[in-house]
């Protein structure tokens, strides 16, 4: 494994997907909560990717 291969965006996306998958599995998904979660997840992925590229 090399540091060049490490992809922070993939890691962030993976964690977001695991969180959403668990949420759907457990239940309690509502429209009110869904849109903020999706937007927040997307924002987290883009933020991580952007910060990693700046370094």
């Amino acid at each position: 494994m090399t540091s060049q291969r490490f992809s922070p965006a993939s890691l962030a996306a993976g964690l977001v997907l695991v969180a959403i998958g668990v949420w759907i599995l457990v239940g309690g998904v509502t429209f009110d909560a869904l849109f903020p979660v999706l937007l927040g997840g997307l924002g987290l992925i883009l933020l991580t990717s952007g910060l990693a590229r700046r370094r």
Binding site: S10, A13, V16
Partner: protein
Amino acid sequence: MNETPETTTPDPSPKRLERVKEGRMLTGVAAGIGRYLGVDANLVRIGFVALTVLGGCGILVYLAAAVLLPGEDGQPPIIKSMRLPWRSGAGRAAIGATLLVIAASAVLASTDSVRWDTAAAIAILGFGAILIVAAFAGGARWLIVPALLLAGVVGFLKAADVHLRGGWGDRDVAVASVADLHDRYDLAAGRLRVDLRDLELSEGQQQSVHARVGMGDLVIRVPQGVTVDADARSGAGEIELFGRHSEGLGVTRTTARDAGAPGGGTLHLDADVGLGRVIVVRDPAPMASMPKLGWDRTP
């Protein structure tokens, strides 16, 4: 008398189908095809637009040509310079793992014991795990966008409490008597029409019916001589319950006790649609939307 011999200069390079820079508007595909066929490039562009409008394949053919055709001066096709995931070992491993996750989820969803949303959630978890591993090994960045889209769609359907059970398509159910009446009517997607006009319930007699459509329309016609206690829900869509209309996103419930002619029994109706419309009418139906749903107003 001297005659000048007619000479022809052979074309130094054979005709090649390629993307060209001269006269191009986007990628040079239409200009290249026009030059190859000896026709105006605008005719080729009109052909692509016509194919797109008529059958939708024009844009696909254009995109395929854009990545597969070589450029001028021996430039390789765009596809050769794309970082396609199957070109690396890690990429092939990620594709394989993704296919395995999809196959496992499809097998789970096909069993009656596992709900579709559970199988989909397991698939999303699997994609998340693949991405976490691939963050260190590489080869799965292409999975980010489709997996997030899948998570959004599944989350939306879960929020609307869509149940996918009972097949697909249009289904008509006509109930002639109490003996014909089932407790449940389920349809995964499409249009379910339950015709209860011939149902007769004597005074004091009670019957319950639960009709559910995952995505689509649920239309129920009830007879005149029966009191109906209806509970209708649409996760995202609209409800028309005995002429009362409500619509919106999220769980929408409307309960109404609609009295029929005196001397009849009571029908407890539970009408549920995840995404779409619930329409409950007493015959004869005083609603304009009935012809669109395939039933006219005549008995």
